[in-house]
């Protein structure tokens, strides 16, 4: 086995992926990731930014333990100690909002659930079925589900993509509140630079496929207190790292 799933030291997550390739339909191997190495300390919020299709989702799947076919080594909390918000909500359509959350987190307390639904404004939708929810609401349920298990590590795969700006920004704030109040180590994947600089403690800039870490940018100002100027400074710093073929897919 090439993944030893134990957390040790102050680093909660230690990712070292030498190579990850898919067999394309033509039979040629398609290299998706190459020489990725980064770590996240306990309580840190890391953001992976990169162009669409660069292999970010593949990386999350490896970290989550869904994909074990790669060269390298990933040290992460074992299953049951990590949670993931997929790009699509992936709710069970035949269970209510509340049951969807309780099914993955059977031991969650009623008061924890009440708080969670309150922060995410889901209280009045507890007994609704996913088919009765808008995409924005369904995404929130997926976020609630991930937090309900009380994970050590939270993986978020572009959780706010295809929502309108106002709603995405609101959900970002809610997420930020939740992460802050629980000190959960979080890894978020996005291709939206604005989102990245608003949320990240540490930002990893990825190249186009095969993805490599181009730069690691720490942002030291606490999340809640970042002003517009500080955000644009951080953004400028990130863009500064984008020498060479600047990928137009990254919204700068």
């Amino acid at each position: 086995m090439n993944d030893a799933r134990r957390a040790g030291g102050s680093e909660l997550l230690d990712v070292r992926i030498v190579r990850k390739a898919y067999a394309a339909a033509t039979g040629q191997p398609l290299e998706v990731l190459r020489d990725i190495a980064f770590t996240l300390a306990r309580g840190e919020l890391g953001v992976l930014v990169g162009p669409s299709g660069c292999g970010k989702t593949t990386m999350l799947r490896i970290i989550a333990g869904i994909d074990v076919d790669y060269d390298g080594k990933v040290v992460a909390p074992e299953r049951g100690r990590l949670a993931m918000v997929f790009q699509e909500p992936r709710l069970l359509p035949w269970r209510t909002v509340e049951d969807n959350v309780r099914l993955v987190a059977p031991s969650v307390s009623e008061s924890a659930l009440v708080t969670l639904f309150d922060v995410l404004e889901l209280t009045q939708h507890r007994l609704h079925y996913p088919g009765e929810l808008s995409l924005g609401l369904a995404r929130r349920v997926a976020v609630a589900r991930a937090f309900a298990v009380g994970p050590e590590l939270l993986l978020l795969d572009e959780p706010f993509v295809s929502l309108d700006d106002a709603l995405a920004s609101k959900l970002r704030d809610e997420l930020s509140v939740l992460v802050e109040s629980r000190a959960v180590t979080t890894l978020l994947v996005t291709h939206d630079l604005d989102e990245a600089v608003r949320l990240a403690d540490r930002l990893f800039l990825l190249s186009a496929r095969p993805a490599q870490v181009l730069a690691e940018v720490p942002i030291r100002v606490p999340r809640g207190r970042r002003t517009a100027t500080e955000l644009s400074v951080a953004k400028a710093e990130v863009v500064g790292h984008l020498r060479g073929p600047l990928d137009p897919a990254i919204k700068a």
Binding site: R61, A64, G65, I66, R79, G80, L82, A83, M84, F86, E88, R90, L92, P93, W94, R95, L103, V104, Y129, G131, E132, R145, V149
Partner: protein, 245 residues
Amino acid sequence: MLRLVSLGLLVIVWYIGSFFAGEQMLPAPMTVLNAILTEARSGELFFQLGVTLVRVLVAFTLAMTIGSAIGLLMGRVALVNQLGDSWLVVLLNLPALVIIVLAYLWGGLTEVAAILAVAINKLPTAIVTVREGARALDPALDEMAKVFAMPRLRTLRHIVIPQLAPYLAAAGRSGLSLVWKIVLIVELLGRPNGVGFEIGIAFQLFDVTRILAYALAFVVVILAIETLVVQPIERRASRWRLRTA
């Protein structure tokens, strides 16, 4: 409403047919109804119906449980599918009569042989239907269950079975009608009671009235099961679907 009209039309066609064919070949609806009432009064009807119904239910349950399990396994595990596929083709194409006769030859004219013969006849179609369902399972939900470390049994109950529900319902529906038809043949060939046995006697006596009486009575029983048991279960299983208001 339309159903009632259509049913009434059937009765009228039956009357006309009986008029031209004569009472001996096709007795009129009233004659058959009287025969049903007479048999019911003596208690004979309920006994024979009951015996057949028990056989239907046992064979059906057996075939559905085992068939679903095998179908799920074949749909999920490629190796099992490759190993089992040719067996399945053989079983699917073995005539019901051959299975029944072999079961009686090998197991004697016993209740166990009778029920096994019926179950084996239903088994392959249940497997095929559920296998299709298992192939259509959403891998995205599987991954979700895996990431959140959901225990196997809970995954089966809350993620797999709800997705299989339409396939299980289809297998159940066609299964119930198939099983009861085969049970009659099994009874005709080797049991001393049941609707099939009664129809066998009536056949030897050229008693068309009796044949129709037993057949119709059992159709009513199946209809009752369909409306009182199958449909409520289906309604409950699909209550999460959006209703068109």
